[in-house]
């Protein structure tokens, strides 16, 4: 399957050139760009691992793409996303977030149903990948 989290998941995977343009848009708006990765893509998993710190004060997307290249070398087998943070009053949160890398195989999620009283059901979503320990979830190794 294909997880459709993030802003551009319904489009074909972004090329580096497209990523650069999005990053430049964020920098021009004065937002700090952040790289995160994870192997647990559960929709309620808000806190992906951070690659370095959010990058403040950059003028050009090349700096971010440099870091992304480094991250891909190490964690290219997992989900990697870029997010842009706006610190201005009244927002103070993320403005844009999109996935830039995915594992080759995305096993997706299982929906567990626990029947309780009456016709009521308690639902739990679990990711198939998380059945295996961290670091062994996608591909080999």
């Amino acid at each position: 399957m294909r997880i459709t989290q993030g802003c551009f998941s319904f489009l074909p995977d972004l090329t580096d050139q497209q990523i650069t343009r999005q990053v430049q848009y964020c920098l021009e708006n004065g937002w700090a760009v952040n790289i995160e990765f994870t192997d647990d893509p559960h929709p309620r998993n808000n806190f992906w691992e951070m690659w370095g710190l959010p990058m403040f004060d950059l003028r050009d997307a090349a700096g971010v793409l440099m870091e992304l290249a480094e991250c891909r070398k190490v964690y290219g087998d997992r989900y990697i996303r870029l997010s842009a943070f706006d610190s201005s009053h009244g927002w103070e949160s993320v403005r844009l977030s999109f996935i830039v890398d995915r594992p080759k195989q995305e096993p997706g999620f299982r929906l567990d149903r626990h029947e309780v009283a009456g016709r009521n059901i308690r639902y739990t979503t679990t990711s198939y990948a998380a059945d295996r320990p961290e670091g062994q979830r996608y591909g080999g190794s």
Partner: protein, 306 residues
């Protein structure tokens, strides 16, 4: 692997067969920057000439690109050699502007560092420090002052080598993302390049910044005074000419910076001279003028005498 490798705007234009040179020159607007360089910086004739030459080269390069005759990224890294206070930082800023207008540098900011910002104090500290600086400089110009301090072969706990390696790598493979300017004293830069030959091959333009002539230094002083709304009396000016001659011969002369320091001291003496007589009524002329005594009180004259 490097990021978007387009000369800003140019690769998105359709290829052309003919280019009106004057129009291209005007559109790009470097004429204004070059003239500003001529106006604002005193002396530095050989430097200004060299910069005009480089600007012409890059203008033609840009036109060749538009005609689809070339897709190479030219090497733009430079080294500036000369004594302190000869205008290296100022010229670096102007060069960044020119490169930006010609489209060889995407954003045009100048990040100015010395060794301490690039090198760490313990193992593993250097690479992230250097990379942080590089990221901020991407799209612009990285100006490294006294670059030779990166290399300290006698100190075994020195981590400068790591920074050097990272720089060399970036200077080679990300030429369209970043321009590096190394600066410092001439002879020390020569020694540095000798021990790190990788740099010399990556640098396209070596520019030497000669010391200012006595006339230049006087002109710089006049310009500084005018900006601060002061002036020399004619006696003071004569005294200052002598001051320059004597001061240059002394050690630790930093050209324009030393002139600035001297003027500050002269303003201090002027103030004290005026305040010594509280019963005076001061006119604008009084507070604007530096007199000969304000100049002659300097120690350089005493040394000469004694």
């Amino acid at each position: 692997m490097s990021a978007l490798s387009a000369v800003q705007g140019v690769s998105e234009m359709p290829p052309v067969e003919k280019v009106d040179l004057r129009r291209e020159f005007n559109e790009v607007g470097i004429g204004e920057v070059l003239n500003q360089l001529d106006r604002e910086l005193i002396g530095l004739r050989p430097v200004k000439t060299r910069i005009r030459e480089i600007a012409s080269l890059l203008l033609i390069e840009r036109i060749r690109k538009r005609m689809n005759l070339t897709s190479d990224v030219p090497t733009l890294h430079m080294s500036f050699t000369g004594n302190p206070g000869t205008g290296k930082t100022t010229v670096a800023l102007r060069i960044a502007g020119i490169l930006h207008r010609l489209g060889f540098v995407r954003r045009g900011q100048v990040v100015s560092v010395t060794r301490d910002e690039l090198v760490g104090q313990y193992i593993g500290h250097t690479a992230p420090k250097t990379k942080e600086i590089l990221k901020k400089a991407m799209g612009g110009v990285l100006f490294i002052d006294e670059a030779y301090y990166l290399h300290r072969p006698d100190n075994e706990r020195d981590y400068g080598q790591e920074a050097i390696e990272i720089l060399l790598q970036v200077m080679e493979s990300q030429r369209e993302d970043l321009v590096v300017i190394l600066a410092g004293y001439g002879d020390r830069m020569d020694k540095f390049f000798a021990s790190n030959p990788g740099f010399r091959s990556r640098i396209a333009h070596h520019i030497d910044f000669p010391d200012y002539s006595d006339d230049d230094l006087l002109a710089i002083a006049e310009l500084m005074l005018r900006d601060m709304n002061y002036k020399f009396s004619s006696d003071a000016r004569e005294a200052f000419v002598r001051y320059i001659g004597l001061r240059k011969a002394q050690p630790m002369f930093s050209n324009a910076r030393s002139i600035r320091n001297a003027l500050d001291r002269m303003r201090l003496r002027q103030a004290n001279r005026l305040v010594a007589d509280l019963d005076r009524v001061l006119t604008a002329d009084d507070v604007v003028s530096l007199e000969a005594s304000d100049v002659l009180a300097s120690r350089v004259f005493m040394k000469a005498i004694g």
